[in-house]
């Protein structure tokens, strides 16, 4: 029970209905402020060109799909596909090598798990450019600049600490008795991990995968530095519209909407794990 709730309980009486009404009005107003940029982007993406710069802004118009069809067949479509391929592959790889590591971290008698938490925090603290300079120079030597494998490798690396940390909390919540029973029954360590532990942590795996996917999908920074045209990802493509076709607000809005579509869907799926994902590395206690 919270202080607010206690206070509300005591105040139940004459002005209660009014307070509730005002409260709702406040909440709705708040939601409107928070949601407004999204709604504005959405209406812009369906607005005919001639109305986009109208003053005062026009809100009633016949929606057009023109901006979306304009995106087809061009750089944006290719970049969108690149983003999908890179995000899915890097997520799969970071789970493949991160999940077993996380399991051992959860089960091993390591002296100081706090140290590992601190290490994960430290990787968050380092400015991304500090990692990017060596990556850029190495990729230049390897001719990996503007390649899909280059992007997959860098996102895989940066999702590792997230995967290890998130999965560890899920593994910690699985009682050891289960795997001890499996081992007594003659299962191997690997078999126990595959057939007992992984199925039990399926929801955690799903949430972790979505987080890793979203971080790769949303990234702009690494793609800006390490891609040119062939491996360009969707966020860079949208920003390029602004730089080179800055007057095409409809097209920019349509591109922005397309990029955010998977993000919105997946975010709602993982909403209950969100705080855990975004504060990975928080030292408990």
């Amino acid at each position: 029970m919270s202080s607010a709730k206690l206070a509300a309980g005591r105040g139940k009486g004459a002005g209660w209905g009014l307070r509730l009404g005002l409260g709702y009005a406040g909440v709705v107003l708040l939601i409107l402020v928070v949601m407004f940029p999204f709604l504005w982007l959405l209406q812009m993406s369906f607005k005919p060109d001639m109305l986009i710069f109208a003053w005062p802004p026009v809100l009633t118009f016949e929606p057009t799909m023109k901006h979306y069809t304009d995106l087809q067949g061009g750089q944006f479509q290719k970049s969108f596909a690149n983003s999908g391929i890179i995000s899915v592959t890097s997520t799969a790889l970071s789970l493949l090598i991160g999940v077993p590591a996380s399991y051992v971290l959860s089960r091993a008698r390591l002296g100081s798990k706090g140290t590992i938490a601190l290490w994960i925090l430290a990787t968050r603290m380092a400015p991304p450019i500090a990692f990017t300079i060596p990556f850029f120079l190495a990729y230049r030597q390897l001719e990996w600049i503007d390649t899909l494998q280059g992007m997959v490798l860098i996102y895989m690396t940066f999702n590792l600490s997230l995967v290890i940390w998130m999965m560890r909390t899920f593994f910690d919540s699985i009682p050891r008795v289960l795997e001890e029973a499996a081992l007594i029954d003659g299962a191997s360590v690997w078999g126990t991990f595959r057939r007992v532990i992984l199925p039990l942590s399926a929801p955690g795996l799903g949430a972790t995968a979505i987080f890793a996917f979203l971080f790769s999908w949303n990234d702009f920074f690494y793609a800006l530095i390490l891609t040119r045209t062939k491996a360009m990802t969707a966020p860079v493509a949208v920003v390029n519209f602004m730089n080179y076709e800055g007057w095409e607000w409809g097209k920019i809005a349509a591109g922005g909407t397309m990029v955010m579509l998977p993000v919105v869907m997946f975010s709602l799926v993982v909403r209950n794990y969100l705080v855990r994902g975004l504060t990975a590395g928080a030292v408990k206690g």
Binding site: A8, F53, P100, I129, F131, V189, V236, S267, L278
Partner: protein, 307 residues
């Protein structure tokens, strides 16, 4: 933590012998790829950047790096006005943004902690700003800040105010970016604080209610002190990320007008990838890294001391 051996090494093995090695060494084999990836691709690059910070080298030149000792650091600290400007702006931006988000986020958490119909839906909607693709929402804000057809000037005209040039105005460009950052991350602070609120014990409230405390006293003397560790976690994470804000600044102002919104992250990007001045920007990054670490350590310390 339990004292049972973690991964029992001597589990009964009934498999072909070549798997015996795998089995015995599972605890080393399972994390090995991750450890290799982390050492090779996270630890090594930072060490390399540190080494590079003592060199003078342009990546665009055919000549190799030349060792110059601490020259880059000395030059940054004593001669580079652009660096000191960026340093101050980074601190100002972070303080304003995190301060605003923390206050608003706590207030919103107290509202949303009450039971009301539709609370779940509202909470879910709040997730969108922080999860949405940063460059996409930055572009929306850029359009809304547009001086000629942007929505914000229209809103100003509705209340009879003269139009503003927003992000093109040197004196308020940084503030405009604080607004964008706060729009994005106030809900995150709210969610963290909500999680903290739901874990608060009820006893202190019951005894305070018996003693006749009013709701403002409850909030100030019980809720906030109990929430302190949670709030510090939110402030810590927000500060680390706010110091490093890149996407929104790059998309909306690129550090401009002139250098009015150039933070350390933007300046080091320009040094490294526009001027290709690798040695110099590496030194800049080391100072930047130290700043982020320093701020984090301060907040982690603050969490443990009582109010």
């Amino acid at each position: 933590m339990s004292q049972v051996p973690a991964v029992p090494v001597r589990a009964p093995v009934r498999r072909r012998s070549f798997n015996l090695f795998d089995e015995r060494n599972a605890r080393y084999l399972m994390p090995a790829p991750a450890v290799l990836a982390i050492v090779g691709m996270m630890v090594f690059p930072v060490v390399y950047t540190m080494w590079m910070s003592f060199q003078s080298w342009f990546a665009s030149s055919p000549k190799g790096p030349i060792f110059v000792g601490l020259d880059n650091y000395v030059k940054l600290i004593t001669q580079d006005a652009r660096f000191s400007g960026a340093f101050v702006r980074t601190i100002v931006f972070t303080t304003l943004a995190v301060g605003l988000q923390t206050i608003l986020g706590i207030a919103m958490a107290l509202v949303f902690n009450e039971e009301f119909k539709g609370r779940g839906i509202f909470r879910s909607l709040f997730l969108l700003p922080m999860m949405a693709t940063p460059v996409a929402v930055s572009l929306v804000w850029l359009m809304m800040y547009d001086p000629t057809s942007g929505l914000l000037n229209y809103l100003l005209s509705l209340i009879g105010q003269p139009p503003s040039i927003w992000v093109a105005d040197q004196s308020i460009a940084l503030l405009c970016l604080v607004v964008v950052d706060s729009w994005k991350f106030t809900p995150l602070v709210m969610l963290i604080v909500l999680a903290g609120l739901s874990a608060l014990p009820t006893d202190p409230y019951e005894s305070a209610a018996i003693d006749g405390a009013n709701s403002a006293q409850l909030l100030w003397h019980i809720t906030l002190p109990l929430l302190r560790p949670t709030i510090m976690v939110a402030v810590l994470f927000r500060s680390i990320d706010a110091l490093k804000t890149f996407d929104s600044i790059f998309v909306i102002t690129k550090g401009g007008p002139v250098y009015a919104s150039e933070t350390l992250n933007i300046y080091s990007f320009i040094q490294a990838f526009e001027y290709f001045n690798m040695g110099y920007s590496s030194a800049l990054l080391m100072i930047f890294f130290a700043l982020v670490m320093g701020v984090s350590v301060v907040f982690m310390r603050l969490r443990r001391v009582s109010w």
